[in-house]
Amino acid sequence: MIELKNLERSYKTPAGQTWVLRRVNLEIREGEFITVMGPSGAGKSSLLNVLALLDDAWEGEYWFREEAVHQMKRKQRAELAKRNIGMVFQSYHLLDDLTVQENIDLPLSYKDIPRKERQSLVADTLDRFQIVAKKDLYPSQLSGGQQQLVGVARAVIHKPALLLADEPTGNLHSGQAKEIMELFRELNQQGTTIVQVTHSDANAAYGSRTIQLRDGWMVGDTANPSLSQPAEVSAS
């Protein structure tokens, strides 16, 4: 589904160039449930932002279903992301002024979908996530778990092929976290490819494959046990 070849990402700082991703080579197949792990600053979220096409300033090759994303213009990348990718954030990122129903509808509102169809999709999603009763509530009136549930519902309403989740349970207690992870498993079983970033081994256990990042380098991949730590890192 996705292939990254020698992908690199760096920032210019007053102190010089800081690398956050180094020569990342990664293949993601349809239906996988990948967990990205690593210590803080390892480049996990940066990798997720690149995969989400929120970030443009990387170098290397990015192939999405045989399409060369690295050759696309910004507008084309945005269209690709809109069609295929859903995002779940650690702090939910729901809009305070919109109700649950309106928050879920938000991604659809940016697509050319007739209003009736949108209403029907929102109703189905509310039903599927069992939050019909909460549809008119505002985010501030929900618990953290409920807010993240809405966040996931919003991420998947347009049936993305790829679901990206950045610490989706970081702000939840264990019970709520478990519910969300069960939901991810269910979505994965229904065919959605998932890439999650987490510090939690328990969450990682829901996935089918784990990738380890350290200082921007990909240093471990359960699907590729031969992947070794780069010389610079091992030397340090």
Partner: protein, 807 residues
């Protein structure tokens, strides 16, 4: 008290720390307060300041005007006040004191100075009986004239001077601050009360009457007595006066009587700058709200440490008032600089303009305005911050609510700013359209390449009619043949020149009511070339010829509307008119196009019924039976007024040593002066509306910029969820458009109300003129959308990655 000092100290520190904010806010307030201070100084000087005479509250003015005969009757009969009269619009030649010069003078009744309580700088004022014929050869000089023409010689009292060919003894000199009835007055002479000259006595000058109430008398009592007198005075006239004459006479304070319709214009301007100040307040309140948002943490800590919401509000209000005082200081300085420009923008004949300056009253007004302004723009942000501080201290959940309230408040302020701006811009638009209409009125004559000048020999010079007529004939002949002159003519009352010439006529075949048996006409005495030179079309019959200048054939030309009024559907040619109290009938030989002679809206004053022209000849007599001595020369030439003035001075000096040439100006200048009042009102109103619009646009821009900065995260998220840049542009523009549309709608409704107050100042445009309303609404929409586009464009540049980074 300690707490307040602490608040002030902390406030000064805070304002100093946020220098950029303080500068912008103080300048905004300075604009509002400066404009208000400048206009208030006009209101204070013209409308409010007590007259500079002893016991000014006793001084009154009678709203009607009276001829000498009626005034003298009033002086004898009215007991509630001591009355005095003065005649306006008189001029006198001062000769044998350097070059002959034309002076503005005021004939006054003998009590004039004593009623006002005015004391002379030198000599004495007039005493009782000095306005009776035979005992009236006196004159009092103004301070300026005394300095300029008599070198401030203290021995001038007792000396005789020749005014208008009559020797008068100087009895006094008035101090520099005595400028009644006008700063232009250079001499005061006694009224010439001569009952034997019936026309002059009963139909000459219709004079304003002022009075000093006797102790214990009220305005109402004085009014009642004057009305009783008014009902009796009709019987004293040697002819029937119209019933409507002085029908609604009353006694008012002299101060308000003097300012007339200037009051309405000043109050309108004060209202306009009041709205500007409101807009400035809304603007600064918005700035304060933005600043309060950055100080939420500080307020939270203060609250957590025990500061009550009231205490926090007081702290913030102290800062607002300090800010307003800084703005007021700047505004006072701005007003000081702008006041002279403002005075210059007003018509020169604005009453009491010399009393206008920045004084303690204006200072008190500015100080009070600063405090009220500070409270006005500080109250909402202070309440908002004190509430937010409490919720900040108690829990973080309340933050969303306070942000929402702040957003609503900001939106309301921006909407109000747009609404107030639209009101002012529509009002200015109506005035501009009205002024445009007035400026494009066809005055009925041509103004291009025409220079005019007044020639004013003494009245006594023209007592010898033949000498006078010959003099003017020679003037025309010599000027006409001067280099660069295409044509030259004379008229006694130049159109739009600010003077009126009247005569009652008997009209053949016209049977008026008792009131109007001999209707009053505008009488123009002209030389034969006048109509051709001025481009006034002859509609039928013939123009005057040189043969008419002998006076052998008694002929007149009548204005078209007058012919239509008195001989509707008939041919006016060959009809006859007769000057009142004359026996000879004059034949109408021509009908001429109407001319806007009185002002650009009216051919004549309302009390006149028509316009008639007679040729300059020994028979061209005004009221009193004399031929006009003062004439205005109109010259068709390519030369400028300087060259024409020099040529005229040379020519006239060769013909008479006692005929000053004054008011040399182009006909275009005469027309501009005729629209000086609406021009100044329009200019000032438009300037204030411009300031209001700029402040309004800055306001809506500021609010949207703030909202965009606060919504960066939301915008980033929307982009992460698939929003295109166009969607974001639309999102922000829609918000701005909501403020604009609601503001414009409210503004249009407000303008409809404001326009009703403006109705008396409008000409040729309805207060509900849809073109003005629609074009202002459309223009303001475009301008506000342009203002919204800048923050909207900034919103489009939001990088979702950076906006969401804190996740």
């Amino acid at each position: 008290m300690n707490g307040l000092i602490q608040d002030v100290r902390f406030g000064i520190r805070q304002l100093h720390k946020s220098f950029g904010f303080t500068s912008v806010a103080a300048f905004t307030i300075a604009l509002g307060i400066g404009a208000n201070t400048a206009i208030f100084s006009l209101v204070s000087g013209i409308l409010l300041r007590p007259l500079p005479y002893p016991r000014p509250a006793e001084l009154v003015s009678v709203t009607g005007t009276y001829p000498k005969g009626a005034f003298n009757a009033m002086r004898e009969q009215v007991r509630s006040m001591e009355v005095a009269a003065y005649a306006e619009g008189h001029e006198y030649n001062l000769t044998h004191v350097g070059d002959p010069v034309r002076l503005t003078g005021t004939p006054v009744s003998s009590e004039f100075f004593s009623v006002l309580g005015a004391r002379p700088e030198l000599g004495r004022t007039f005493v009782s009986g000095e306005d009776a014929t035979g005992n009236d050869r006196y004159v009092i000089l103004s301070h300026n004239l005394w300095e300029q023409r008599f070198a401030a010689n203290t021995n001038v009292v007792g000396r005789s001077i020749e005014l208008e060919g009559t020797s008068r003894q100087i009895v006094g000199v008035m101090p520099a601050n005595f400028q009644f009835p006008s700063p232009k007055t250079e001499v005061w002479v006694p009224l010439h009360n001569d009952p034997s000259n019936q026309v002059e006595y009963w139909a000459g000058d219709f004079m304003p009457v002022l009075g000093r109430l006797r102790p214990g008398t009220t305005l109402a009592q004085a009014t009642a007595e004057v009305r009783l007198f008014q009902s009796r005075v009709f019987g004293l006239f040697p002819w029937t006066m119209p019933k409507a004459w002085n029908a609604d006479v009353s006694v008012v304070e002299l101060r308000s009587g003097m300012v007339g319709n200037v009051r309405t214009r000043l109050l309108l301007l004060l209202g306009a700058v009041g709205l500007v100040l409101l807009i400035a307040c809304a603007n600064v309140a918005n700035l304060m709200l933005s600043r309060a948002a950055t100080r939420a943490k500080e307020m939270g800590i203060r609250s957590a440490l025990g500061a009550a919401p009231r205490r926090i509000a007081r702290q913030l209000l102290t800062e607002s008032v300090l800010l307003a005082l800084i703005g007021a200081l700047l505004g006072f300085a701005l007003a000081g600089t702008g006041l002279s420009a403002l005075k210059a923008a007003l018509p020169a004949d604005t009453p009491r303009l010399q009393d206008v300056h920045l004084d303690w009253r204006v200072l008190v007004f500015t100080g009070a305005l600063a405090i009220v302004t500070g409270l006005a723009f500080g109250l909402a942000p202070a309440l908002q911050s004190s509430k937010a501080a409490l919720s900040e201290a108690l829990n973080s959940a309340g933050r969303g609510a306070s942000v929402a309230v702040s957003r609503g408040l900001r939106g309301s302020l921006a909407t109000a700013e747009v609404a107030l701006s639209v009101m002012l811009v529509i009002a200015a638009g109506l005035l501009i359209r009205s002024f445009w209409a007035l400026s494009h009125v066809d005055p009925g004559f041509r103004a291009d390449r025409i220079v005019t000048a007044r020639i004013t020999p003494n009245q006594s010079f023209c007592a010898d009619v033949e000498r006078c007529v010959t003099f003017y004939r020679n003037v025309v002949d010599q000027v006409r043949t001067s280099p660069g002159v295409s044509a030259a003519a004379l008229v006694n009352t130049l159109p739009l020149g600010g003077r009126v010439s009247k005569r009652s006529l008997d009209i053949e075949g016209f049977v008026g009511s008792n009131d109007e048996k001999s209707p009053l006409f505008w009488l123009d005495v002209v030389t034969p070339d006048y109509f051709r030179l001025m481009g006034i079309p002859l509609l039928s019959g013939r123009a005057f010829s040189s043969a008419d200048e002998t006076g052998d054939a008694a002929v007149v030309i009548i204005a078209a509307s007058s012919a239509q009024r008195f001989w509707p559907g008939q041919n006016a040619l060959g009809k006859h008119v007769r000057f009142s109290r004359e026996s000879e009938w004059r034949t109408v030989v021509g009908v001429i196009n109407d001319v806007r002679a009185y002002d650009l809206q009216h051919n004549t004053p309302e009390f006149m019924r028509g316009t008639i022209y007679v040729p300059y000849s020994p028979k061209a007599t005004l009221e009193g039976g004399r031929v006009p001595a003062e004439m205005t020369m109109v010259i068709q030439t390519g030369a400028d007024e300087g060259q024409v003035g020099a040529m005229l001075h040379r020519t006239i000096a060769g013909l008479s040593a006692e005929a000053p040439v004054t008011e040399v100006k182009t006909m275009r200048t005469v027309i501009s002066e005729a629209v000086a009042t609406p021009a100044s009102t329009t200019f000032l109103f438009s300037s204030f509306a411009g300031v209001a619009l700029i402040l309004g646009i800055v306001g809506i821009y500021g609010v949207l910029s703030f909202l965009v900065s606060k919504r960066r995260k939301e915008i980033g998220l929307r982009m992460a969820l698939g929003a295109r840049r166009g969607d974001i542009l639309l999102l922000v523009m829609r918000e701005g458009a909501t403020f604009a549309v609601v503001g414009i709608a409210l503004g249009v409704a407000g303008a409809a109300f404001l326009a009703k107050l403006l109705a008396t100042q409008l000409y040729g445009v309805s207060p509900m003129d849809t073109v003005t309303y629609a074009s202002v609404a459309a223009s303001v929409s475009v301008v506000t959308m342009a203002a919204c586009y800048v923050p909207a464009r900034r919103a489009m540049q939001v990088d979702p990655l950076i906006a969401l980074r804190n996740d």
